[in-house]
């Protein structure tokens, strides 16, 4: 029973981090129907920039964090401007291919500037252990959950109630109609990319805080992929639930089955089965067809 509890807690904490990364995917997809394969690299950039500002330059935490967010937002805008704007109106598949190229580019840039040797991330949350019933959690993981929770709530409210949030969903629905409404599609895209880069940077900091800062961080972009597909690419609640499912599955298979190597494959297996039943993911928008 204790092991079950421990695995559940571990699964859910990992799930919270997945959810934060997943939201980055969802944001871009919601606004522009593009799957951003460079999301993991956005995260990498965020982690390295934060580690550089706080660890190497010795800035205090709040300032370092705010600067990281600003740099991430700027990166989002620049990428949209230089790489994606010329592709507005082109087939989605071309845009997706470009994000794959962008991923290699960003990765090479980061490793070129800061080297390939892993860095130790300066501790953000104090490292203590907390007991929930009989399961152990570190405070840094709890901090990660709190950060993820706050951001997920903000984004959900943003899309439902704000002018820009509704405009973003409108653009995702029908670009030309949105344009006829006076909504600047370019501005919305720039906004989606920079918000997504900010989320990724925050996720990068949170993840790097529990691990070390190295090029491997970007792999989480791929790990999170089943989460987004499972939850439905354009649903924030979906991302949340998908993240919890995948986090728990990984924890349980890692704890109960074999030597733990199965836990890396299991998310994809479940993904295949769920997609057979619900091709849009659990909460994805269906293509509405009126008869």
């Amino acid at each position: 029973m204790d092991q079950f509890l421990q695995l559940t807690v571990t699964g859910l904490t990992n799930g919270a981090i997945y959810a934060l990364v997943a939201v980055g995917f969802v944001l871009i997809y919601k606004a522009s129907d593009v799957i951003n394969f460079a999301q993991g690299e956005f995260l990498l950039v965020g982690a390295y920039v934060a580690a550089f500002l706080i660890g190497d330059l010795g800035l205090v935490w709040p300032i370092g964090a705010v600067l990281t967010v600003i740099i991430a937002a700027a990166m989002g805008v620049v990428i949209e401007r230089l790489v994606l704007r010329p592709l507005i109106g082109e087939p989605i598949i071309s845009v997706i291919m470009v994000t794959i190229g962008l991923a290699s580019l960003l990765r090479a840039l980061v490793l070129g500037i800061w080297g390939t040797k892993p860095k130790v991330f300066p501790a953000f949350f104090p490292k203590n252990e907390v007991y929930i019933f009989n399961a152990v959690v570190t405070t840094e993981k709890l901090g990660a959950i709190a950060v993820a929770g706050v951001f997920l709530l903000i984004f959900t409210l943003f899309f439902r109630y704000t002018r820009e949030g509704i405009a973003m969903r409108a653009v995702a629905d029908d670009q030309q109609a949105a344009l006829s409404m006076g909504i600047s599609v370019k501005r919305i895209f720039a906004m989606a990319w920079s918000i997504s880069a900010i989320t990724a940077a925050i996720a990068g900091v949170v993840v790097a805080n529990t691990l070390e800062v190295s090029g491997n961080l970007s792999a989480i972009g791929l790990t999170v992929f089943p989460v987004v597909i499972l939850g439905g690419l354009d649903s924030i609640p979906g991302a949340l639930i998908g993240a919890a499912i995948i986090g728990l599955l990984e924890a349980y298979t890692g704890g109960y089955v074999g030597d733990g190597s199965l836990s890396q494959v299991i998310p994809y297996i479940v993904l295949v089965f769920i997609l057979m039943v619900r091709p849009y993911g659990l909460f994805g928008k269906e293509i509405i067809e009126r008869v």
Partner: protein, 264 residues
């Protein structure tokens, strides 16, 4: 209010669609733009509203003046801010947004955000059926309701000139009448000038103050509805009536076929 002077539009640098199109809309009027498929009606509206660019279209000659200022050089969002709003053909509601969110999207360019709630109520007064469905996903509305939403959404921007592209498309005749009646009320009560593109010449001529008929990218006839209604060509080609005033039967087509005199 709106003047088009010899406007020429080319798609993809090659295809000439508007060949010297001229037209004039006075403030407070309902002006109908009629014509058959491919005459260039929708292109005319898109040239005015700035929606040609995403389709690789371009105004290459002539000018479009709105309240005396050239607008064919502006982006779509600036044109909406100046008070021109196009209700696109085929309704184009945001399917995954609720009715109310669609209305909010229409109000995107509004500066006086405080009055948006009042205007939503105004839209509901014109279209009570939308109020019943306010929290529903727009994609699941019926065609008529979607057209109402599209028109209501345009009202949210408080336009000076509303351009409707075939609001009757795919709707039952009774519903078409209802929607045209509401358009007329909006024109009178809100003082919104209307430029109406239609294939259904009959109903368009009923509410219009002035009408233009387009063929092959230019205006071939214009006048007030009563004059046009009496024009033999209009009766034959757009209203489907013969000179005697009866519905045309296929039997007669064979031995005598009228030609459009302005072609050739």
């Amino acid at each position: 209010m709106l003047v088009l002077n010899n406007v020429e539009v080319i798609y993809d640098h090659v295809i000439l669609v508007l060949k010297g199109m001229s037209l004039q809309v006075e403030e407070g009027q309902i002006v109908a733009l009629l014509g058959s498929n491919g005459a260039g009606k929708s292109t005319t509206l898109k040239a005015i509203s700035g929606l040609l660019k995403p389709e690789d279209g371009e105004v290459t000659d002539g000018e479009i003046l709105f309240q005396g200022e050239p607008i064919h050089v502006l982006d779509a969002e600036d044109i909406v801010q100046r008070g021109i709003f196009q209700v696109m053909e085929g309704r184009r509601v945001f399917e995954h947004l609720t009715v109310e969110e669609n209305l909010h999207a229409g109000a995107y360019t509004r500066k006086d955000r405080r009055h948006i709630a009042d205007d939503i109520e105004m839209v509901y007064r014109y279209f009570p059926r939308l109020k019943e469905r306010r929290t529903q996903t727009a994609g699941y509305l019926s065609g008529g309701e979607q057209q109402m939403l599209a028109i209501g959404r345009s009202l949210m921007a408080r336009p000076k000139l509303m351009m409707l592209d075939e609001p009757s498309l795919g709707l039952a005749p009774l519903l078409v009448r209802e929607i045209f009646h509401i358009v007329q009320r909006i024109n009178q009560e809100q003082g919104v000038t209307v430029l109406l593109v239609e294939q259904n010449a009959n109903i368009a001529l009923q509410i219009a103050d002035y009408a233009y008929i387009m063929e092959n990218g230019r205006i071939v006839l214009d006048g007030d509805p009563a004059t046009l209604r009496d024009n033999a060509d209009v009766r034959e080609f757009y209203l489907g009536l013969t000179e005697v005033g009866q519905r045309k039967s296929y039997r007669d087509v064979k031995h005598y076929k009228r030609r459009k005199r302005w072609l050739s």
